[in-house]
């Protein structure tokens, strides 16, 4: 594996253990709640027990009497502290409805968990004890938990909006007017499928934690937060609280996972910061898991209607999609944009004419706000097209893998302009599918299935395929502008060679488990000819790394990593000027390899980077006009998204007596272009696959009809353990991206995108002989059993 096809890599593409690990393995790493902050006050938030209620009065006086309590506030008490409401950075349409949302609700609570009052005390215990003493008088109002019900405006949640509809966003792409309708009219085959993406709770193992440390006289304030987005958080906190941005510093210490849920600006971050300024003391807050399941964003929560049109050979001719998306009670940072991230992927990996009709309507409900969760829109899209492809294969009576092969965009069609106008950078779907089929023994499984799934068999074998394309590496800033996103998609990097030839990298990415310190060191080591251990990666502190747009959307490597590689090139260019000067050679005659500049044809005339670094530092003998020191900064705006792809195959055995699904084998073949560290790539895929499998089989945020969450703890919300999931068989293909100099693509979300459709396709496949054509998620034993029962009842009814 090589960074480019020509140059042999010494570091990139090779498995390398992570430099992050020793601190994390020994308890040395400090997460936000581990920070020792003398004199800090503790914040606790009183949360609405009602999904929808008018707040008639809030009496905090009894809380003030609890020993250790410093202050207690209602939402109205704190209103003067806010310079603006909680931010939503993605107004997807000009007429999008966005309810005013403050860190504490003032007149109305709109979901169970909505903050209505808070306490600051000298200990966490005192703060929590005092919550019980706050008296809030509510007028309960009807809950809205069903999306159709929300759309009906039977109960309007936000009075000032007059409707529960936030927006409708359309994307119609036609080569000729009316092409979609004509394609459906002329189709040999059509399918029309309805799918539901249940609400999920991202459930990073580290709950959120915040500590705001003010300098009352200096005027600066430091916000420590378990966040994926320290840079975005800095800007937003400054704006929301009216703090001059240069006095605001945000630090993300060790962060225990995010999965999109920490890509946000949360009430507690603003409360701690505002109250630290008000009380002139540090204020900290650590989320309890029960709060995390209610007051940290949820994901997915979409209803889909997808229709495919195909010709007699099964070649797709048009796709029509209607979405109804659940925003939850308010719009958080990028809530409205999540369905749009999927809008470009409903054509999957298939060669389609320009005949696409997409529309998404989004509504408010009285449940926890939704927002980005691993994959964010793209797992939903992939699920719909990949389930619908199986439905089409079933309608046609052909093998689902064969149908996919007939429709794949061929390798020679790349770069491929898709029906949406976006350009897919590179791909080889047939190769990935072929490899996955080999690893799974696809033909052998089909043969085994024919003998196993006989009439009356209670252990039925199923095979599910999912081929996916992911749009990641967010993102070209101009494309984001066309989607009304309020920020750009660039990333910044600084590479600095220290006088002793150790290298500092400053990155705007904000890792929380992805191993950026290791991976970025490898990129620099490869470029600069040093050992990765001689590279230090600085990140996640806006005072140290002031420029950046953080980590989400599988963007860190294809945007941030590429920026680092480009900064290395700039440093090398400058070093070359010094080397040429010192070696009295022409710059064009110098070659740089292995950390050494040599003069072509005169190998004994050489100068190592170490010597140049020291020369640059002393500045005793530099070329005229050249600035001292060896340092370069790059801000890189990618020309395109990156488009990783792959094929996953899941093999299940379903016990039709109990409804239990046993995953016998899971094969994932992913292609993320050139790999920097295969060890990390594999880890990302493993974790992503199990999160997708967990959506398919285990997880759902359940609310009762009154809007009460029924899965508020990890005892009820079923994140699976090692005992509950299979090992994973991995394979990969490598199709470098032509759009960036490293040839890389993102890999953080791919596993999650591929897994849920592969698992559900396998279950439906296992039960197809029993008349089952779809399976809701999560496919719990009870759901599988009842689906089999209703299919068999329907079959009996039909035969009568």
């Amino acid at each position: 594996m090589t960074i480019t096809e020509s140059a042999a890599s010494t570091v990139l593409g090779k498995r390398r253990l992570r430099k992050e690990d020793p601190a994390l393995l020994t308890g040395e790493a400090k997460f936000t709640s581990d920070l020792n902050i003398p004199g800090a006050l503790h914040l606790a938030v009183l949360r609405s027990p009602y999904a929808h209620a008018r707040i008639l009065s809030v009496d905090v006086s009894a809380a003030l009497a609890v020993p250790g309590v410093v202050a207690a506030y209602s939402g109205a008490d704190l209103a003067p502290l806010w310079a603006g409401p909680m931010p939503c950075a993605w107004p997807v349409t000009d007429d999008m409805k966005n309810p005013t949302h403050y860190p504490l609700a003032v007149s109305k609570a709109a979901y169970v968990g909505d903050g209505v009052a808070c306490v600051v005390a000298t200990s966490d215990t005192a703060a929590h004890d005092a919550l019980d003493a706050i008296d809030v008088e509510y007028e309960p109002l009807p809950a809205v938990i069903d999306l159709e019900d929300a759309l009906s405006d039977r109960v309007v949640i936000h009075d000032e909006l007059g409707t529960n509809r936030s927006y409708t966003w359309d994307l119609k792409c036609e080569g000729e007017d009316g092409q979609v309708d004509r394609a459906f009219a002329d189709a040999a085959y059509t399918v029309s499928e309805h799918y539901v993406h249940q609400r999920l709770i991202p459930m990073a193992m580290e709950p959120r934690a915040v500590a705001a440390v003010p300098q009352p006289f200096g005027g600066d304030i430091t916000l420590y937060s378990s966040t994926q987005v320290p840079h975005i958080l800095k800007v937003m906190t400054a704006l929301t609280l009216g703090i001059p941005e240069h006095q605001m510093r945000v630090v993300a210490p060790a962060v225990g996972g995010g999965f999109g849920a920490k890509l946000n600006v949360y009430a507690e971050e603003l409360l701690c910061t505002a109250l630290a300024r008000k009380h002139k003391l540090p204020v900290r807050w650590t989320e309890e898991r029960t709060e995390n399941t209610q007051a940290t964003i949820h994901g997915r929560a979409q209803r889909q209607h997808i229709e495919l049109a195909a010709d007699a050979d099964g070649k797709l001719t048009a796709v029509r999609v209607r979405l109804l998306a659940d925003m939850g009670a308010y719009l958080q940072l990028v809530t409205p944009g999540i369905p749009l991230l999927g809008a470009f992927l409903y054509g999957g990996v298939y060669d389609l004419p320009v005949a696409y009709d997409f529309s998404c309507t989004s509504v408010f409900t009285t449940m926890t706000p939704t927002d980005a969760y691993r994959g964010a829109g793209r797992p939903e899209a992939t699920y719909a097209i990949e389930r619908a492809m199986d439905a089409l294969a079933d309608t046609m009576g052909i093998d689902p893998l064969e149908l996919r092969r007939r429709n794949f965009i061929r390798k020679d069609q790349f770069p491929y302009t898709a029906m949406t106008g976006l350009v897919y950078d590179s791909g080889d779907h047939d190769a990935a599918a072929t490899k996955a089929a080999e690893l799974a023994d696809y033909d052998g499984l089909r043969a085994r299935q024919a003998t196993q799934n006989v009439d009356g068999a209670t252990k039925r074998l199923g095979v599910g395929v999912c081929s996916y394309f992911e749009m990641c590496g967010l993102a070209p800033s101009r494309v984001l502008a066309s989607l009304n996103y309020s920020a750009g998609g660039w990333e910044a990097a600084t590479v600095r060679v220290l006088p002793t030839n150790k290298i500092q990298v400053v990155t705007g990415t904000a890792p929380h488990g992805q191993g950026h310190e290791t991976a970025w060191s490898m990129i620099v080591a490869e470029k600069m000819g040093v050992d990765p251990d001689d590279v230090d990666v600085l990140h996640s502190d806006t005072a140290i790394a002031p420029l950046g747009l953080d980590t989400y959307g599988s963007r860190s490597l294809p945007v941030g990593g590429v920026a680092i590689a480009m900064a290395c090139d700039k440093v090398i260019d400058k070093a070359k000027k010094i080397a040429a000067h010192q070696l009295e050679a022409n710059e064009d005659d110098l070659e740089f390899a292995g950390g050494n500049f040599t003069v072509k044809g005169t190998p004994d005339k050489a100068m190592p980077l170490a010597a140049i670094a020291f020369e640059a530092f002393t500045a005793h003998n530099l070329p005229d006009g050249l600035e001292p020191n060896l340092e370069a900064q790059v801000t890189y705006d990618p020309p395109n998204f990156s488009w990783p792809f792959g094929t996953h195959i899941c093999v299940v055995e379903v016990d039709t007596e109990t409804g239990e699904v046993d995953v016998l084998k899971y094969v994932a073949v992913d292609d993320c272009g050139n790999q920097v560290n295969p060890l990390i790539v594999e880890g990302q895929v493993h974790g992503g696959v199990i999160q997708g499998l967990a959506q398919a089989l285990f997880e759902e945020a359940v609310f009762d009809e009154d809007g009460n969450p029924k899965t508020s703890t990890l005892a009820e919300y079923l994140v699976p353990a090692a005992s509950d999931v299979p090992p994973i068989t991995l394979g990969h293909t490598i199709t470098p991206s032509p759009t960036n100099p490293l040839g890389v693509k993102g890999i953080g979300e791919a596993g999650t995108i591929g897994a849920a459709p592969a698992v559900i396709n396998a279950i439906v496949d296992a039960l197809s002989g029993l008349g089952v054509t779809d399976m809701p998620m999560p496919a719990s034993p009870q759901t599988v059993w009842t689906t089999i029962q209703s299919a068999s009842t329907a079959a009996q009814g039909a035969s009568k």
Binding site: D129, E288, T290, S723
Partner: protein, 274 residues
């Protein structure tokens, strides 16, 4: 998550524990391993004013061969039951079932006495000891008494124990070579059973206990009667839910639970008959 404040006293003997509970009245609770009580206290669903710690009563941690039965001290931990050679030989069903309680960390702390006294119908050991025809020994201010497992579980989290009584010993008849099976059906290994079945069979006799099929652990006597009168396993298993009154929750409706009980009882009896 922090429990509400309480006072804590550690008992040095069973007698002292009983007298402390008597002294502090209704708001006092025994704590052994704490794995039933502390989770409720952290969520502030239980707010006892006094905890009487009986976890240090090491003289109540034992597994003894007592002739026709095995005597197990109430403070014996799940892990000790799971790994006991005595139980492996004489009551393998109980040893096996103990290995399915919670997870290893829970089994390192939780005790059989705590589990039975808490009497959660979803717990594995109440139904298992019920199936095995166990007798529980309770000690109170006026001495000890024996309570048959079949008479012990009286309602949701309610037992025959008086407020000032403490469970001290569990007496489990030896299985004498009976075939057995433990079927725990759940979505995650660490969770409570959605439905569980503990069954044994020897000649014409059998015992079938059901986990999470009602407000109390259930003894499926109709299954045993059917078997005794010569019914096939499949026919007997159809009676699985005759004594049950299963509830609805996130994982299962009553109808699904009844169906599962029949399937799992059939499978358990088939395994126990091998």
């Amino acid at each position: 998550m922090i429990p509400a404040a309480f006072d804590y006293v550690r008992a040095g003997s069973a007698e002292e524990a009983i007298s402390l509970i008597g002294e502090h009245g209704e708001d006092a609770k025994f704590i052994a391993g704490g794995h039933s009580l502390l989770p409720l206290m952290k969520l502030r669903l239980a707010q006892p004013s006094v905890l009487v710690d009986i976890g240090r009563l090491s003289d109540l941690s034992y597994i003894r061969d007592a002739g026709d039965h095995i005597a197990i001290g109430a403070m014996t931990r799940h892990m000790d039951i799971e790994k006991s050679p005595v139980l492996a030989e004489h009551v393998p069903l109980l040893a096996h079932a103990a290995g399915h309680v919670g997870d290893p960390q829970v089994r390192h702390r939780g005790t059989i006495g705590g589990s039975i006294a808490h009497s959660d119908a979803a717990s594995d050991l109440p139904a298992t000891t019920l199936a095995l025809g166990a007798t529980y020994v309770a000690q109170g201010p006026n001495g000890t008494r024996e309570i048959a497992a079949a008479d012990f579980f009286q309602g949701f989290l309610t037992t025959a124990l008086a407020a000032d009584e403490m469970l001290t010993e569990i007496r489990v008849p030896k299985m004498n070579g009976a075939g057995w099976s433990f079927q725990k059906f759940n979505r995650r290994a660490q969770d409570w059973a959605i439905v569980g079945v503990a069954a044994w069979r020897r000649n014409g006799e059998s015992g079938v206990g059901l986990v999470n099929m009602g407000s109390v652990p259930i003894l499926a006597t109709s299954v045993s009667s059917a078997l005794a009168s010569g019914a096939s396993i499949a026919d007997a298993a159809e009676q699985a839910a005759a004594e049950a009154d299963p509830q609805n929750d996130l994982n299962a409706s009553p109808e699904y639970r009844v169906h599962l009980a029949k399937v799992l009882v059939r499978r358990a009896l088939e395994e126990a008959s091998k």
